[in-house]
């Protein structure tokens, strides 16, 4: 049995080392990165298929388990279920997209691609980890390359943005670390599955009480804080717009496409299983924050003038739905079949929304990259207009991505948002109702963007706006096709996801 997950995690890391030696030769560095990303994609597809074929009980597959530092309860424990495999797939796709979008990097390309590959490795590691040390290692590992990518290749004011990004995420990481240290002190284990089992039977709270006192709620909040910064949940989001705007656009693709999912995944893998009861206690405030995130995120997108900032806030909004669903699921009352059905549907939606949003947001930012290259670096919403005429293919293809983000039925965005709302309404109808506003405002935002950028009068200077080259079209096409396919036939993915979600929920206790 080959240690597939370890290999998957290490391929980008090794490729990063090789890319470093490419130094200033951009083509070599890009080539290495491409090959590594393609290999990773192939492997993650293999993993995904493996999940589907190995039976649909939703348990962990491709498990690797070895002792590491027994004194601290640290084990080398990897494994994926459908959720994890989906995230691996997403990371691989988004990384490939980011590398493809990084054509115009001329300054220290070897270092640049090495950092991107390290980031990919960090993503893979986080999504496969089942022991806190391993998970935390890669969580931090992804932070450093991200910081340097922003700091060294970003736009004006990148220093401050990078530092802000680092500080916020670091604070969250520290909170997570402290919480897990407390868990270790109480239970002598850092293993996610073990901790989840203990939580389900109620032993965890007893253990914490015995060793540390009645602080399990604080621990839960610390864990939530760590993820709240990452996703982000308002009001911990203030780092995001600046960072997304100042970062080089391919890096933003990675940030919004994959890294933000680390937070949501963390809530699903760590927070809900281990701290289900505590989250149920503070469900209402959390739901309020989630709703705020949805609505305020969308509203803020309305007033932005820079396209990157528009979609930055839009990201906040889209992930707000995930948060909404997750907090809604933590229902303190005893489950009956209707609630558990709604919970399952809601979480199915969350999983799908993660994948969809990742894909869509990355695609949108990819298009923004191309726009940026053609416009000489500016992305002001009023700086364009009537691009439909000189660049119809561009407009059409970007339109698909934009409509998917809007949630048009037939595209992938609709399915996930629908599932979320379908699941959340019975669980908690007030936040759900208010969040519908978010849908409406988002629609307004997207349509405005389309109107300003593609429709309207054509400015003189954009007469010769170059359309997409053949290469670009071929590059973007697979992603858009995927969006269509998922929109029309989501059951390709939902079968395995559903099995996993049911398995997970069965083991949780609120």
């Amino acid at each position: 049995m080959m240690p597939l997950l370890t290999v998957l995690t290490l391929i980008p890391a090794f490729a990063a080392l090789i890319a470093l030696f490419a130094g200033n030769r951009a083509s070599v560095a890009r080539g290495v990165a491409f090959i590594a990303a393609l290999a990773s994609l192939a492997l993650s597809v293999w993993v995904w298929l493996g999940i589907g074929s190995a039976g649909s009980d939703g348990s962990m597959k491709f498990v690797e388990h070895a002792s590491w530092v027994p004194a601290l309860g640290i084990e080398y424990h990897l494994g994926v279920d459908a959720l994890g495999a989906l995230m691996l797939l997403l990371s691989a796709i988004v990384s490939l997209m980011a590398i493809a979008a990084s054509r115009k990097i001329t300054h220290q390309p070897g270092l640049y691609f090495a950092l991107i590959l390290l980031l990919e490795s960090g993503l893979f590691g986080t999504f496969t980890a089942l022991n806190f040390f391993h998970w935390f290692l890669f969580w931090e590992l992804s932070l450093i390359p991200a910081f340097f990518l922003i700091k060294l290749w970003g736009g004006e004011g990148r220093g401050r943005a990078a530092t802000q990004f680092f500080v916020y995420t670091m604070v969250g990481s520290v909170a997570l670390l402290l919480a897990f240290l407390a868990l270790f002190v109480s239970t002598n284990s850092m293993d996610f599955e073990t901790l989840a089992r203990l939580a389900a039977t109620g032993e965890l709270t007893t253990a914490i009480q015995a060793h540390l006192g009645p602080i399990s709620l604080w621990l839960a909040l610390a864990v939530v804080l760590g993820f709240a910064v990452k996703v982000p949940l308002m009001p911990f989001h203030t780092w995001l717009p600046a960072t997304y705007a100042k970062a080089p656009t391919p890096v933003t693709m990675l940030l919004t496409g994959a890294m933000s999912k680390m937070g949501v995944y963390g809530l699903l893998r760590l927070a809900l299983p281990i701290f289900g009861r505590e989250l149920a206690e503070v469900r209402t405030p959390l739901l309020i924050l989630a709703t705020l995130t949805v609505v305020a995120g969308a509203w803020a997108a309305v007033v932005q003038r820079d396209l990157k900032r528009v979609f930055a806030y839009s990201s906040i909004n889209h992930l707000g739905y995930c948060l909404l669903a997750i907090f809604a699921v933590a229902l303190p009352s005893s489950p009956n079949s209707a609630t558990s059905l709604s919970q399952t549907i809601a979480l199915d939606g969350v999983a799908l929304q993660m994948f969809n949003h990742g894909l869509t947001a990355a695609a949108i930012f990819w298009f923004l990259t191309m726009l940026e290259e053609r416009s000489g670096g500016q992305l002001h919403i009023d700086g364009f207009g009537g691009l439909r005429k000189p660049a119809p293919v561009f407009c059409g293809l970007m339109g698909i991505a934009l409509f998917s983000s809007l949630g048009l039925p037939g595209l992938n965005g609709f399915v996930s948002e629908f599932l979320i709302f379908r699941g959340v309404f019975p669980l908690s109808w007030v936040p759900a109702t208010i969040s519908v506003l978010g849908l409406l405002i988002t629609a307004a935002v997207i349509l405005t963007v389309i109107q300003r950028v593609f429709n309207g009068p054509l400015a003189e200077r954009w007469k010769d706006f170059p359309d997409l080259t053949t290469g670009e079209r071929l590059a973007v096409a697979p992603v858009l096709v995927l969006m269509l396919v998922l929109g029309l036939a989501p059951q390709l993915v939902m079968g395995s996801i559903n099995a996993t979600v049911m398995h997970l929920i069965a083991g949780w206790k609120f």
Partner: protein
Amino acid sequence: MLAYTIYLSFAGALMLAFLPRAWNAGARFFALAIALAGLILALLGFIAGSGQSTVAVADLAWVPSMGIHYTLAADGISRVLVLLTGLAAVAGVLFSWNIGTKDGDRANEFFAFFLALIGGVYGVFLSVDLFLLFVFYEIAIVPKYFLIAIWGSTRREYGAMKLALYSFAGSAMVLIGLLAAYAVAGSHTMNLHELAQYPFPVSFQMWAFPLVFTGFAILAGMWPFHTWAPTGHVAAPTAASMLLAGVVMKLGAYGCLRVAMALFPHGLDPWGVSFLGIDSWRTVFALFAVIGIIYGAAVALVQNDFKFVIGYSSVSHMGLVLLGLLTLTQIGIDGAVLQMFSHGILAGLLFATVGRIVYERTHTRDLAQLSRLQLGKAMPFAAWLFVIAGMASMGLPGFSGFVAEVQVLVGAWQAFPWFAVVAGVGIVVGVAYTWRAMQRAFFSEAWAHDPSAPIPEYEPITWAEKAGVFLLAGTSLLIGLYPRLLLDAITPAVQALPHALLTGGHQ
């Protein structure tokens, strides 16, 4: 076999001292050979000893009428620290590779003093006879003085004298305690194990423990006796700083564990009365350790001299080591020893970056001046090296510091919960000052006002520097990913410590 680490080093030092001046340039090769031999021996000894608890190395009668024997042995803790010494020695020589290239460098004397210091350190870690341990401890003092006074930089004579006098004062305190213990135990043995078994009266232990502990802790840089450390480390030449912060400070911590805590475990017991929550010497020293962690970190945060940042960070990290020792838990002491190793490697790496790679080329250590030099572009190797070393020093998982710090914190939590919290804050401040130094020195945008300013050209990184970097960074990474390599040796050794220790200081 391990004893040859000591003999080779001293023999090498002696030979170098007598080398004719014309052979200046060859001195470094010779020193490298000796240091490498020491490292290989240490490694072999480490591997050979794995699985055994104590490896006896030598045992000769020295002054039998006084019960003094030349006894060397290595348990797990000693083997780990001997390995650290070997690594630091090789790295130190590699980072001093430019000494001997110029006339008037006095390379022979430099490497002679260097090897003498290394020999003394090896001796301390391997000694089982208390007198012998003290002899080696004192031998290490004089080479330190000369290394700093002759080849150092900022205020070197003052720094050297302060360091030497503080060390000597500390050792005088230790000697008093030793003599008293020797006398009380009947004056017929100086063997550590035998003395550890001797039931010293509790009243005796109550004053002997703080005396000996303080004496050793001065060398370990415990607050408030730490002031020699930043001054001395900054004044010292790079190799000496690496050794001083990396290994010599660990001598102090080792002495605290091996001598003070093992011989006088009841000195840690509660007094029966309590002033503001302080109820035993254990709490007092733990408090000092924690203050050292925070104070060192806070002061490092406001330094303008790059080397001072590292100097104060050493004080902070050593505070963590002492805290770990005083938790009197298996996990805490394990963590403390691991942190000794980890910080030894990382301090070496940091001083090498700042002192050798940056300062040798830019001739400034002032952060404000460095921020104008675009070092991120001019010296990418140094910049990224500092990033990695800094991350490791911050306690990033994947490097050796993380596991050690977690172990100390967990142990501290069991023993002194509030101190654990403060220590945690200190570690977070550690992130801050490392970050600040890294930003200002390498990735600052102070030069952005004049983007056309040319990137300064510096000499390329020599092979010796690269080798040293890979040695140290590689070790830290290896231990970070697989700490069991060391923990498997440390844990049984800690378990074998005198029973009274690990019962938490109470009966």
